[in-house]
Point group: C2
């Protein structure tokens, strides 16, 4: 694999926003991903490049309420790179970056069955499904992994 | 003023989301405010209550890239409470919570003239206007205050 993973930079944001709706199969996701992750959470956020072209990204941070927790907000992999192990590698980089924290949380839409299956394969457990987690009718699957 | 300001809690999120579009004059804002701020940034996020009813809120965090910076992501005040000093009081609570950090950043839409004027009155300076800051066509005024 010729893909290089590095820390996210502010300049990555435009590339990410340009592809994010398409990578999510046409769902309008861009409004849910403000630039702040690429500015203020760079050491726990990553961009993957394949010959200078964006192949994937991960945005996460250390919880500032729970000392042992970290949270993954957004992860995307170019459909052309799916199945290559890149998603798992992005998560591994995040787990290493937040060490020694051991509780990793993420939420995803129950409609995104690929995401739920991917997280289970990585060792995440489904804590519960909250039908209104991110607002009325915005259901989320709450996922947690203990490192 | 009988308004009480306290740290944000996850249970505040439903109340905030129920009013946020209305407080922004009908602009669809809810998608830009995920629950995570009420879970992982509680000591730098605040809810204001007036007799048990939400009167305002502020969501912010300490930058994890820039050691001396903090960022305010979202602030709302019930139109019925505007002009009462509540907005300023929410910012003061945030400034105290992030001490000893001295660089406070925020972004707002150039369309939101009330927000730009409010930040100027609080001592924020306009660094620049970025026409595509939060994605193509999503212009933002970049604001900074040095404490």
């Amino acid at each position: 694999m010729s893909v290089v993973i590095r820390h996210a930079e502010p300049r990555d944001y435009a590339d990410v926003i340009a592809v994010v709706d398409e990578w999510w199969g046409g769902r309008p996701m861009a409004a849910m991903l403000p630039k702040l992750f690429f500015v203020h959470f760079r050491d726990t956020s990553f961009a993957a490049e394949d010959g200078g072209r964006l192949a994937g990204f991960l945005c996460g941070f250390r919880s500032q309420t729970h000392d042992d927790e970290a949270y993954i907000h957004f992860v995307g992999v170019d459909p052309a790179h799916r199945g290559s192990g890149l998603g798992r590698e992005l998560y591994d980089r995040f787990f290493a970056a937040v060490a020694p924290r051991t509780v990793i949380r993420a939420v995803t839409s129950p409609l995104n069955e690929r995401s739920v299956a991917f997280h289970r394969a990585l060792g995440f457990e489904v804590e519960r499904i909250d039908e209104d987690y991110d607002g009325q009718g915005q259901a989320r699957v709450l996922l947690v992994k203990h490192l």
